[in-house]
């Protein structure tokens, strides 16, 4: 309540930030304030070194800001203990990275199951449904190491959604893909997040997807 009062906002938002800064040595980066509705989509663009990934890590509770406040679902994530923040991240936030990393020793299904295990809600039918949606059900028991990069990226999108999070943060999800795969991944991210009423935040320098998101913040302008 107190923080909502400080922000001076009455309307309920999923993400609210206020004067976030981050410092790398002597360099301080200031970020624009973000107010994002439930189910909304936002594209954050900027050149290399503009702090896109840092901003995403701060919003996801992976990196502490030098100053400023972040409210996610009305919770100041940096006021939470490490343990609670880990649990909050597992349940409320999904991540998609440019290079998808998985637990190499586990199969596709076990990787997705492990994501659910970490947020204490194993639901095999949800996994099966998502795999079917991206046409990868036949690879359910395959070793993650035998998948192509495109397949891995699709699985990483499923992994981000498998716990039915409130937000998906995608960091350069298309930069390593060709035009066709780029379109597929963006369509998949936008469609699945809409279907699941999940808020989507993408940070990228990939100009190919610029026109697909009306709601944008350009970090180069700050």
């Amino acid at each position: 309540m107190e923080l909502a009062y400080i922000f001076g906002l009455n309307q309920k938002k999923l993400i609210r930030t206020n004067n976030i800064t981050v410092k790398y040595g002597e360099i301080e980066i200031k970020f624009p304030n973000i107010n994002l509705d439930y189910g909304g989509q936002l594209l954050i663009i900027g050149k290399s070194g503009s702090g896109k990934t840092s901003l995403l890590n701060i919003l996801g509770g992976l990196l502490s800001a030098e100053s400023g406040n972040i409210l996610v679902n009305d919770i100041d994530i940096f006021s939470l203990s490490n343990k609670k923040r880990d649990k909050f991240r597992g349940q409320q936030i999904g991540f998609v990275f440019q290079t998808p990393h998985f637990i190499k020793s586990l199969s596709v299904n076990d990787n997705l199951k492990f994501s659910q295990y970490m947020s204490s809600k194993i639901n095999q039918s949800k996994i099966d449904m998502l795999l079917k949606k991206v046409d990868l059900k036949h690879l359910k028991n395959a070793s993650i190491q035998n998948l192509s990069e495109g397949e891995k990226q699709r699985i990483s999108i499923i992994r981000a959604l498998v716990n039915q999070p409130s937000i998906i943060f995608a960091d350069e999800p298309t930069s390593a893909l060709d035009d066709n795969s780029c379109n597929n991944v963006v369509d998949l991210l936008t469609n699945l997040s809409q279907e699941n009423n999940t808020t989507l935040v993408i940070v990228t320098h990939d100009k190919r997807i610029k026109d697909k998101f009306p709601n944008q913040i350009n970090l180069n302008d700050f």
């Binding site: 990934t53 840092s54 890590n57 996801g60 992976l62 990196l63 490490n82 343990k83 880990d86 649990k87 909050f88 991240r89 597992g90 349940q91 991540f95 990275f97 440019q98 290079t99 990393h101 998985f102 637990i103 190499k104 020793s105 586990l106 076990d110 199951k113 492990f114 994501s115 295990y117 970490m118 947020s119 992994r159 716990n163 960091d171 350069e172």
Partner: protein
């Protein structure tokens, strides 16, 4: 799920995890092997040594006298006159005095000249088929002898002169099997037992030459045997007399009486075996130290293996953290990997140790005529299992701390 993850992480890195497990397994195997050998040796030696209070034989090595006459391993020191040990049969402190005479063997199984008390009193043996010997050249055979040499009641064979290496066969004096003993798991199973008269009949000139002194054909003039002659009462010889006391005072008087006699020597099996085991102990300790060294190496290998694995898996671990895994969960999963390596190493080490003991037992059974087994277990093995697992987990602490301290944001920034 966390168990599955830890197990999968072990088996998908078979080389590095395998090396740690093999090193651990080798050290456990050596420890188990030494432990089982010593345990069985100590138990067999003590068990048999405690059956007899005193071995009275010819002067020479006391240990040799005990090994030969109680354990039937070594050669005798020589023979003694039966009339010189007469007093033992009548002494009030002596519960039993059983004379034995050695000299011949059949296919490496010793032929013991004695009386049936040797079987019934010392080894609690009983006849399973046939009966005890009544006449010279009748024999009772141990269960293993019957099984191995396929001998049955009524079968005949000729003894060979000597024990390990025979010089010639006593073809003129064929022995006849009249009884087969029930198996006991003791040395008696490997022996051929006959009357003293049989040995005297086969070796009438033992008064001139101790039966075991005749080790080569050159030394042993077979044709000089007068096979028809009988040994006179004064010249009757035996290899030893196995004495059991009926009074604690005997321990302080009888060995003294025996050792005062010029031709006799008393050896107490319990003392000799303790000295023998004390001699072996340092060698076994060296083996233990060596295996502990390998054990140390294997722990170092676990640390290196897991540290390398952490290096390879830092993106995986970061992703797990991003996905909500707490540092505690990551820490536990790596400790579990140490647990599995420890479990694999110790269980395979125990299995290997027992298997090799089983193989060695065959050789030991043949060589020493004692029943060793790979299926003997020691409660210390359980301790060894738990300690190894615990140490495996302890070795995983350092890599687990490395994973615990991993900066997710920095790691992912380098490769996203």
């Amino acid at each position: 799920m966390i168990f599955k993850l830890a197990w999968r992480n072990i088996i998908t890195r078979p080389l590095s995890s395998g090396l740690s497990a093999v090193l651990l397994s080798s050290s456990i195997m050596v420890i188990v092997l030494s432990m089982l050998t010593m345990k069985q040796m100590r138990s067999k030696f003590n068990e048999n040594a405690n059956k007899i209070d005193l071995v009275v034989g010819a002067k020479g090595s006391r240990l040799q006298s005990v090994l030969c006459n109680v354990f039937h391993i070594d050669y005798p020191n020589g023979n003694i006159k039966l009339n010189e040990v007469d007093f033992l049969f009548k002494h009030p402190f002596v519960k039993s005095a059983i004379p034995i005479s050695l000299g011949d063997s059949y296919k490496k199984h010793r032929i013991i000249g004695t009386n049936p008390n040797f079987i019934t009193q010392i080894y609690n043996g009983s006849i399973s088929k046939g009966n005890f010997f009544n006449k010279p050249l009748e024999v009772v055979i141990g269960a293993n002898v019957a099984a191995k040499l396929k001998l049955d009641i009524g079968d005949s064979f000729s003894g060979s002169h000597g024990i390990e290496e025979s010089t010639h066969d006593h073809e003129d004096f064929p022995y006849r099997v009249v009884g087969i003993l029930s198996p006991t798991g003791e040395i008696i199973d490997q022996l051929i037992v006959t009357s003293l008269e049989s040995v005297w009949q086969v070796h009438p000139h033992n008064d001139k030459k101790g039966s075991f002194d005749l080790k080569t054909a050159e030394e042993h003039d077979h044709h000089s045997h007068d096979h028809k002659s009988e040994v006179s009462e004064n010249n009757k010889e035996v290899t030893a007399v196995l004495v059991n006391y009926n009074s604690p005072r005997a321990k302080f008087s009888i060995p003294g009486i025996v050792n005062q006699k010029n031709a006799l020597m008393g050896a107490e099996p319990a003392i000799e075996i303790k000295q023998l085991l004390d001699l072996i102990e340092p060698a076994v300790n060296v083996i233990y130290v060596l295996s502990l060294f390998i054990f140390g190496l294997s722990l170092f290998s676990i640390v290196v293996t897991l540290l390398n694995s952490m290096k390879d898996r830092k993106y995986e671990i970061s992703m797990m953290r991003v996905g909500g895994a707490s540092v505690r969960l990551i820490f536990i999963s790596i400790i579990l990997e140490g647990f599995f390596i420890g479990l694999l190493g110790s269980v395979s080490g125990l299995i290997l140790g027992h298997s090799i003991m089983g193989i060695m037992a065959r050789f030991l059974n043949l060589k020493y005529n004692y029943q060793f087994s790979g299926l003997v277990f020691d409660s210390l093995e359980l301790v060894l299992l738990f300690v190894t697992i615990l140490i495996g987990m302890t070795a995983a602490i350092f890599p687990a701390i490395a994973a615990y301290r991993l900066d997710i944001s920095k790691t992912l920034k380098n490769k996203t």
